[in-house]
């Protein structure tokens, strides 16, 4: 029997590590690929959402009677159509969710908590009629004072969003409701003692603004519920099974009653891990008996889907004169949006994680405000806290006149280091990425006038989780793979490559597809950089099982013992005997009917052993001292991938993450007016980086294999968004000799600092 867990770290590889074309490439360049809003059904209705115009208000009454009688309106749903739930927290990947909150976020109940909060939805025969019907729904509100910033939300006299919110994690537990949902703390040692021993201490406060994932495809879905209660849902999501489970609970249907098919997905970055339109479309379809399609406009995506937190971050680091960190302390206050669940836990856990700490403490507060409920965004929480730590470290390096890479090397976490959040780290690539950065020609290139170079590192955990996939050997020798994790950026290619490597057959004979929720066991979503790691693990194992079966069939045909057969390069080979005897996969497959029937295998597991991925970025900026505009002149991203299955898509993750980080650092922010209305609800004024804003993003893939994966994969998607914030801020600070502690570094903010210090 092949060892299912054996790894290939030492084996010479033929496919893994190369750059073949992706299996879904042709569909994506011809317009054939179907995304969330690209599918239609006969007799379909259009669904539209009525949203709150107020940031905070009590709902006094909802009257839909006028809208109901409008010709062409087929169904209307409000909170009365959804069951209520008691408060209960369940993990959803890197975030925690609570059904009581989810049902209120998809459809407001007692109160509206942000501008854009859903209050009703309509399905009608046309878009125009649906829009008209929204205007006929009469809602009486009692407007309440609202609060947008964490520092205001914390005040004792702040308007309270949830009257039952008692801060968790504080002893004794408070008697009075507040906007602080919870307090978390991680760390070890004695920080006060550490600071007392320090030769130099730097303490700073930072501000970051709320930013959106900015996927180009708005949320969209198509639901069809038949008279017998069977529901079909097509939607753009990072996790079809997760959507199924949310929707089945929210609508009181069984898991077997809902089949979710994930469309091709036009970007997610964590934002498509929860439900918004899906339960509404299902409810509207159930009520009308007709298929219902719903799409968000771009403005709705900004106001009503989940961005990530804006935050206040306080960091204090003490070092010895040689640059060794003796103590690190931070307090993080993250906006949760209207419901608790800011990613402050992971933010606190990873704040100091790139370093080998002696005394460390990270405290985090999850604070509700009248903004849309945050959702995961690429390494949720990490970029914010690490931005603070990496900035202070840069300032310390300057003060000690130390090279910023040297100070990081001096403190770098390595195998055996106890992470600030508890566990002992396995092999990780912090030192390797720093060494690669130091050796890169970028690091020693000369700088021009008004230019500065910034360095920052980043740490992200990565996750495993529940995963299943299957493999079928077709009669003609081709191979099918059914995968349960959404392919968001080339994972079908990586899976086919691993199967091809194991089987020893060319990749173009292998067809990977993403299955619907009826075709496999539960798969947790694509997130936490887990797809290539976890689904890859199940693909390798099921492929090995299929190989065992192929060998058995060959043994039967040759009438020898199984142990007489080995698998080499896509063929069964008879070990004993004078003449070498082989049989190809295709020959065995053709005779499968005679030897026991179709050949297939599957693997289901709860994958553990994800390996953290470390990255270090180098950026050169140029500051226009007259306008305050910061330009990115040169950028190099270096990251430990463990093993890059398809290096082009690993580079793509690094480049895409870096540019999202550039947007976060330089431009992107939610801008609210004093009524709590978002003022920049389009791409024109919520400006994500465009092609002419950025240079080429140079990449270096470092490979320190993860021993827990057959090919050493770590997962690469999230780490690359962590270093840019601090790297750019450090570069601007070095270019101008002024420390910048606030993002985004947009021209007015930079100019103000240049003028007034």
């Amino acid at each position: 029997m092949n060892d299912m867990t054996q790894n290939n770290l030492e084996r010479a590889l033929k496919i893994v590590g190369t750059r073949p074309p992706r299996p879904d490439g042709v569909d994506k360049v011809t317009g054939r690929a179907l995304f969330g809003s690209d599918k239609s059904l006969p007799n379909m209705l259009v669904g539209r959402v009525l949203r709150s115009p107020y940031a905070h208000a009590k709902i006094i009454s909802i009257d839909t009677s006028k809208a109901e009688v409008l010709n062409g309106v087929k169904s209307i749903v409000t909170c009365a159509d959804f069951e209520d739930f008691p408060s209960e927290f369940v993990p959803n990947g890197e975030m925690i969710v609570n059904l009581k909150d989810i049902t209120r976020n998809i459809m407001a109940r007692e109160k509206v908590l942000y501008v854009g909060h859903t209050v009703a939805a309509v399905a009608a025969t046309s878009e125009d009629i649906a829009e008209k019907a929204l205007g006929l729904i009469d809602i009486k509100y009692e407007v309440l004072p609202h609060v947008l910033e964490v520092e205001d939300a914390e005040k004792p006299d702040a308007p309270v969003l949830h009257e039952d919110m008692m801060t968790i994690g504080i002893e004794p537990s408070p008697k009075k409701a507040s906007n602080v949902a919870k307090r978390v703390e991680f760390g070890f040692g004695d920080v006060e003692k550490g600071f007392a021993e320090a030769d130099l201490i730097v303490e700073r406060e930072f501000t970051t603004q709320q930013v959106h994932q900015g996927y180009i495809e708005p949320h969209a879905c198509l639901a069809s519920v038949s008279e017998d209660g069977q529901a079909d849902l097509w939607c753009t999501t990072q996790g079809a099974f997760v959507v199924r489970n949310f929707c089945s609970k929210l609508l009181g249907l069984s898991a077997a009653q809902i089949k979710v098919t994930a469309s091709e997905i036009g970007g997610g970055f964590g934002g498509k891990t929860v439900v918004y339109l899906e339960p509404l479309a299902l409810a509207l379809s159930r009520k009308s008996g007709r298929p219902v399609k719903m799409e968000m406009s771009r403005a709705e995506v900004f106001t009503s889907s989940g961005p990530t937190s804006g935050a206040k971050v306080w960091v204090k680091i003490g070092v010895k004169n040689d640059g060794r960190i003796i103590a690190g302390d931070c307090v993080l206050k993250y906006q949760a949006g209207a419901f608790q669940g800011a990613p402050v836990g992971p933010g606190a856990m990873c704040a100091f994680a790139p370093y080998d700490m002696v005394n460390v403490r990270a405290v985090g507060y999850d604070i509700v405000v009248n903004r849309p409920k945050v959702s995961a965004y690429r390494a949720p929480g990490g970029p914010i806290s690490e931005y603070g730590v990496e900035s202070v470290l840069d300032e310390i390096a300057l003060k000690l006149e130390m090279d910023p890479i040297e100070i990081r090397l001096k403190n770098a976490a390595k195998e055996g280091t106890i992470a600030p959040y508890g566990p002992k780290l396995g092999p990780i690539g912090m030192i390797e990425t720093l060494e690669a950065a130091k050796a890169h020609p970028h690091y020693s290139a000369p700088l021009g006038p008004n230019q500065g170079r910034g360095i920052a590192s980043g740490f992200w955990f990565n996750i495993g989780g529940e995963t299943s996939s299957s493999i079928t050997i077709n009669e003609d020798g081709t191979v099918g793979l059914t995968l349960g994790t959404t392919d968001i950026g080339g994972s079908r290619a990586s899976m086919a490559m691993m199967a091809s490597e194991e089987l020893g057959v060319p990749m173009d004979l292998i067809k990977p597809v993403i299955g619907d929720t009826n075709s496999l066991g539960f798969n947790f979503l694509t997130g936490g950089s887990r797809a290539t790691f976890s689904t890859g693990m199940t693909v390798v194992r099921s492929t090995r099982e299929a190989i065992e079966e192929l060998k058995k069939r060959a043994a039967l045909l040759w009438e020898v013992d199984l142990n007489q057969v080995e698998w080499v390069d896509g063929h069964a080979r008879l070990i004993a005997g004078d003449e070498p005897k082989t049989m190809s996969l295709a020959q065995i497959a053709k005779q499968a009917g005679k030897t026991g029937g179709p050949i297939m295998a599957n693997c289901s597991m709860n994958v553990t052993g994800a390996g953290p991925s470390l990255g270090t970025h180098i950026v050169d900026v140029e500051v226009d001292t007259e306008t305050g505009k910061v330009s990115i002149v040169r950028y190099t991203a270096i990251q430990d991938a463990g093993k890059a299955i398809h290096p082009a898509y690993v580079e793509g993750q690094m480049q895409g993450g870096a540019v999202q980080g550039i947007g976060w650092a330089l431009n992107e922010e939610y801008i609210y007016n004093d009524k709590g209305e978002l003022e920049n609800t389009g791409f024109l004024d919520y400006r994500i980086p465009v092609c002419s804003d950025v240079p080429m993003i140079d990449t270096v893939i470092v490979e320190v294999p993860n021993p827990n994966h057959p090919y050493g994969v770590r997962g690469v998607g999230e780490t690359p968004i962590i270093p840019p914030l601090a790297a750019i801020s450090n570069a601007v600070s070095r270019a101008t000799n002024i420390r910048f502690n606030e993002l985004p570094l947009s021209p007015p903010k930079v100019l103000a600092k240049l003028m007034h210090g």
């Binding site: 992706r22 317009g31 180009i216 970007g267 799409e295 993450g657 999202q660 465009v690």
Partner: protein, 158 residues
């Protein structure tokens, strides 16, 4: 309100449709004609996912009214390949992994073809400014720009 009769030529084929005056060309393509290759990322002319050619001019289909297509020639992503042959730009994007999620890809490809028709030898800067109206949130643009520069060179040498 009565609908307007529009006759147009899309990817070389004659099409007739009825449309409300307020319907955009993008609505018509996607909803009336089932040509869903052109994508809607914003409907306000900011993302370029809906890029199409209208009488040899690169436009955002979300900013053109359906009735304006009357008597015009339209080219969409669906018309880029010929028979079973991909256009060299399409092939290059696959070869160089110049797409991740692929939602921006149709618009980027249409815009790229328009650029290379006008300018056979664009500089990196020209490519970046030409494509500045096509948002991509996944790739960081690096591989897109490389693909455009490389395919331009291939096409010059072909």
């Amino acid at each position: 309100m009565s609908k307007t009769h529009v006759s147009t030529c899309i990817n070389g084929d004659t099409h007739e449709f009825l449309c409300d005056t307020q319907n955009t060309l993008l609505d018509v393509l996607r909803h009336e004609l089932d040509l869903t290759g052109s994508k809607e990322g914003c409907a306000t002319g900011d993302c370029g996912a809906c890029s199409v050619m209208l009488d040899d001019r690169l436009v955002c289909a979300c900013l053109v009214l359906g009735v304006e297509a009357d008597g015009k020639e339209i080219e969409t992503i669906e018309g880029m390949s010929s028979g079973s042959e991909l256009h060299p730009i399409q092939q290059k994007f696959i070869d160089l992994a110049a797409l991740q999620c692929g939602i921006c890809t149709p618009g980027v490809l249409v815009a790229t073809k328009a650029l290379l028709t006008k300018n056979k030898n664009p500089s990196e800067e020209e490519v970046r400014f030409w494509l500045a109206g096509n948002l991509c949130r996944c790739t960081g643009y690096d591989k897109i720009v490389r693909a455009v520069l490389e395919v331009a060179a291939d096409m010059r040498n072909a």
